[in-house]
């Protein structure tokens, strides 16, 4: 199973590709993608014989077939594949669970628990889906989505707010604010 995936991601095994692709469509791509659907993205596959005891952190999208005893701190999307086992907490932008997780799961964007999954622990994510068939014992907390999108709000606010003020001569501070906001 892992080998099939490997051959898929072999040709484009570049981290930069993954990051730019992910950055281009951060919201258009919900993390519900199956490993096979991830083909256009470069991703990192941790095969089923791998056992990590300790703390992992990474930015590249990650598909785990192996076993992790410890926590995962990730800034991209993490998929615990069928057969993958995590004993510990998982933090990531988006998390898909098809395997087994004993621990809490915290996603800044979304968390998906697939039918084959076993999850014993809590979920914290603004978007959560638990598919019929999944085994889940724990509680779900949904923080307000505003926190996830807080970076974009100021941009929208500052630009229109600056417009009415522009009747008066634009001060340097206003200009800086508009330009600074526009840069984001």
């Amino acid at each position: 199973m892992a080998r099939n995936i490997m051959s898929v991601f072999g040709p484009n095994g570049r981290a930069a590709g993954a990051e730019s692709a992910a950055a281009a469509s951060p919201e258009a791509a919900p993390a519900v993608t199956a490993p096979s659907q991830c083909a256009p993205l470069a991703l990192m596959t941790l095969g089923k014989t791998l056992v990590f005891k300790g703390e992992i952190s990474a930015d590249e999208d990650l598909v785990l077939f192996g076993r992790v005893e410890g926590s995962i701190n990730h800034t991209g999307s993490v998929t615990i594949a069928l057969g993958g086992v995590v004993t510990g907490n998982v933090y990531a932008r988006s998390i898909t669970i098809r395997g087994t997780v004993e621990g809490d799961v915290e996603a800044t964007e979304s968390a998906t628990v697939a039918p084959s999954a076993v999850l014993n622990g809590d979920i914290v994510a603004p978007r959560v889906s638990i598919v019929d068939g999944a085994e889940f014992n724990g509680c779900v907390k949904m923080p307000p989505r505003a926190s996830a999108e807080s970076k974009k709000v100021p941009v929208k606010v500052t630009a229109p707010a600056a417009a009415p003020e522009s009747k008066a001569p634009i001060s340097e501070q206003d200009a800086a604010r508009v330009l600074g906001g526009g840069d984001r």
């Binding site: 014989t49 791998l50 703390e55």
Partner: protein
């Protein structure tokens, strides 16, 4: 990237953004481009890629180093330090190759008969 690293057709790649602290065991070919601190126990071919940075005790079957390793390396078959490799630590293997250009400081212990020789010199078990 696709210069000398064979294991990626068949095995796992730990990408350059990966950081791991702890104990890693694996039974498949592995290419490490990330940062690992701790110990690695491996039963097949292990490659530390050019971007790889490992501060660990490594036990493997076939180990080739194109990145940076701080720690002792023990292999059942062979250890190769590539041109881009930097290793500070001891090598213990029946077959060792160090390519011209490699940066290596440490001892080489070749266990041509049996691999458990020289254990008295080193504090680690085995």
């Amino acid at each position: 990237m696709d210069s000398s690293d064979k294991p990626k057709d068949d095995g796992s790649v730990l990408g350059p953004t990966l950081r791991f602290k702890g104990e890693l065991t694996a039974g498949e070919d592995l290419l490490i481009e990330g940062q690992i601190i701790g110990t690695i126990k491996h039963s097949r071919r292990l490659t530390i890629g050019k971007q790889g940075h490992v501060k660990a005790q490594i036990e493997g079957h076939i180990v080739s180093i194109a990145g940076t390793v701080e720690g002792d390396v023990q292999a059942q078959t062979s250890v190769a330090v590539m041109e881009t490799g930097r290793l500070s630590g001891d090598i213990r293997a029946p077959s060792v190759s160090i390519v011209d250009g490699a940066d290596f400081s440490g001892n080489v212990i070749m266990d041509t008969s049996k691999r458990a020789r020289g254990a008295g010199r080193d504090t680690d078990k085995r």
